[in-house]
Subunit: 111 residues, 2 copies
DNA sequence: TTCGAAGCCTAGTAATACAAGGCATGGAAG
DNA sequence: CTTCCATGCCTTGTATTACTAGGCTTCGAA
């Protein structure tokens, strides 16, 4: 469950890949996460639509050599900027969690 | 928005503090997160109830010197074990995100 | 021809953090 | 004495969100 971080993940995968269609995004995420995130289509497609709706992605229909129709997504300028921001938020977030998990100081930080 | 990680945070705060009542848990989390997580009561109390229901916390009513009634929570054995597991899951999770955000390798990892 | 993989989609569901309220007490300020 | 804020507990409702479970098509292999 990656509640709240899915958008960032999709943006990051697309930023790294340059462009990709839905199915490929799933595999890209799976590969780059070391197999940790194996997302079902019912998760990824709505996310792609949502992000395109929000103007962070753009898409074009293409036909692969195999003859299959694919919808290829890539980041917009806005999407790239959004990713930068999401990264920063993520850093703050994970640092804060780190403080909670790591800190063994029961009261104020002693000298 | 800490969707999915709230339980771990509460458990961690209580583990560090030993025991605390609801209001104190809020401040403990705030302090240890460096001010990043300032949770409203509507978030923390249902979480405490949920965790007690699940057997991860136990509580006792006490009366403070001021005369105010407080419900003091602490971890059960099960809760302590659960926290250990949540930590591990968090590590996996954040490592996976790290792989997605950091990795600049467009294809297979080269030699 | 039958089945699985590639490839797209949607409707419904469960979980969850949070907003917004309510209630009570103690102490300080007026 | 009253009024207000901080302490301290609680619940109901709501929006978001990832996911389940379906459905549709085409390609290629068995």
């Amino acid at each position: 469950m990656l509640k709240g971080h899915l958008d960032m993940i999709v943006l990051a995968a697309l930023a790294a890949a340059g462009s990709a269609h839905g199915y490929a995004v799933i595999e890209e995420i799976k590969r780059r996460s070391g197999g940790a995130f194996d997302l079902p289509e019912g998760t990824i497609y709505p996310a792609l639509h949502r992000l395109e709706q929000a103007g962070l992605l753009k898409s074009t229909w293409t036909t692969a050599d195999s003859g299959r129709r694919r919808r290829v997504y890539s980041l917009t300028r806005t999407g790239t900027r959004a990713l930068v921001e999401r990264r920063a938020v993520w850093k703050q977030f994970s640092d804060a969690i780190g403080g909670l998990l790591g800190g063994n100081r029961p009261r104020e930080t002693p000298a």
